[in-house]
């Protein structure tokens, strides 16, 4: 009755609780809250198959990006390499385990979980949405998506690699490895994946059934 009618036409701003009447948007346009300019909704270009492709590519790149060194240092004939995980561990070994955990979470764990979570969501939407067990898992994944997305800081790590290169190039020679390449491509894939992904669209899939 009354409630059903409201459900379709009104959207509440999550930041200031303003009631805004929903309107159809042309593609590529976002609706902002007229009062506080928070993003209300946009026209999702949320293609499941496109995301699946990005997701699989990201998954394949995830392992070489994490197991091959991202930077190589040559100093008086000796070579030092580091992967992201080794970087986190070396800080943790010095007793700064909070820093180590922060680095590990933001650059390794969160991106991995994000990719796995989106992949699982896509597979559930494609094949298993009517199964109550998978429906429950799907809801759980959607709930944590915002958090994972926020914790993923690949773009910041990318910049950090360049900053370190400039800082250290004063003392020694630095080289990029295959890991750097894989990491850069992984970063691009995840950026596009996050652009393509629309949480509201993923939630609305549940309503359609």
């Amino acid at each position: 009755m009354d409630k059903d009618e409201l459900d379709k036409s009104i959207v509440l701003c999550r930041a200031c609780d303003l009631a805004v009447r929903k309107r159809a948007l042309p593609t590529g346009v976002r609706a902002l809250c007229p009062r506080c300019h928070t993003n209300l909704y946009d026209t999702p270009y949320c293609s499941i198959n496109g995301m699946l492709a990005l997701c699989l590519t990201a998954l394949f790149l995830y392992f070489p990006a994490n197991f091959y060194p991202v930077l190589e240092l040559h100093f008086l004939g000796s070579v030092r390499t580091t992967t992201i995980i080794e970087g986190a561990m070396s800080v943790a070994d010095q007793g700064y385990w909070i820093v180590g955990i922060a680095v590990l979470t933001a650059a390794v764990i969160a991106p991995g979980l994000l990719i796995a979570s989106v992949l699982a969501q896509i597979l559930i939407v494609k094949y298993q949405l009517n199964n109550p067990f998978f429906r429950d898992i799907y809801k759980r994944l959607l709930r944590y998506h915002g958090l994972l997305s926020q914790l993923t800081m690949l773009e910041i790590y990318m910049i950090s690699i360049f900053v370190s290169v400039f800082q250290l190039s004063d003392y020694t020679d630095l080289y990029f490895g295959i890991g750097t390449f894989c990491f850069s491509v992984l970063f691009v894939m995840v950026i596009f994946l996050q652009r393509e992904y629309d949480i509201e669209h993923m939630w609305s899939v549940l309503d359609e059934q």
Partner: protein, 210 residues
């Protein structure tokens, strides 16, 4: 719905936006009917939590800036750098762009974040007459830029892992690193737990236009 004529809030309509999935729910419900998470018209306790986190972060900002954050050994000479002296050193080495990036990420952003959130929380707690639009714009900027402080920690972890050649050339993190990591974590949490809808309720009666 024109915002200038009448700003109708969900609360007066008896509706609540689920903070997890942004589904529209009747305020009388306990849980969202789509995602099953608990819903609340307003989370008043979030203001206290946010204050607590912010004050802790502000205290930790001192050790983060006063203690050395890296210990660099170069040919037997040991240098302990705080965040600021490290940036100073970069300027002396003519690496101005890098210095600017690091200055923004590790000094400017944390300070602005703490001051900005402080003003924001005070505006809610003490109903300060500050334009809500400006406050909210500031809040969005804080939310977005806050994570970039992680840059410094990433750089430290990369350097510490690569540069370990004993007396010749060696880089190690120092105590301020932990304090700095906690400052980032706590300020991000303070912004995240806060229910921003509180701001728009409190000042509504005083100046409608802002």
């Amino acid at each position: 719905m024109n915002s200038k004529k009448a700003a109708v809030q969900g609360q007066s309509l008896g509706l609540t936006c689920c903070q997890t999935c942004q589904n529209l729910c009747p305020s009388t419900d306990e849980c969202c009917n789509r995602c099953g998470q608990r819903i609340a018209a307003r989370d008043v306790t979030s203001l206290q939590k946010s204050w607590a986190l912010l004050i802790t972060a502000a205290i930790l900002l001192f050790p983060a800036n006063l203690y050395p954050i890296t210990i660099m050994t170069s040919q037997g000479q040991v240098r302990r750098d705080t965040i600021f002296s490290g940036i100073n050193h970069l300027i002396q080495l003519d690496l101005l762009p890098i210095a600017i990036i690091l200055f923004t990420a590790s000094i400017l952003v944390p300070m602005l974040k703490i001051v900005g959130l402080g003003i924001y929380l005070m505006a809610i707690s003490y109903e300060l007459p500050i334009s809500k639009k400006k406050l909210m714009a500031g809040f969005h900027i804080i939310e977005w830029i806050g994570r970039w402080s992680m840059l410094d920690l990433f750089v430290i972890s990369i350097t510490a892992a690569l540069v370990n050649m004993g007396q010749l050339l060696d880089a190690k993190p120092a105590p301020a690193a932990t304090a700095f990591a906690l400052v980032i974590l706590l300020t991000q949490l303070a912004a995240k737990v806060l229910d921003t809808r509180l701001l728009w309720d409190r000042l509504e009666s005083k100046d409608d236009r802002n």
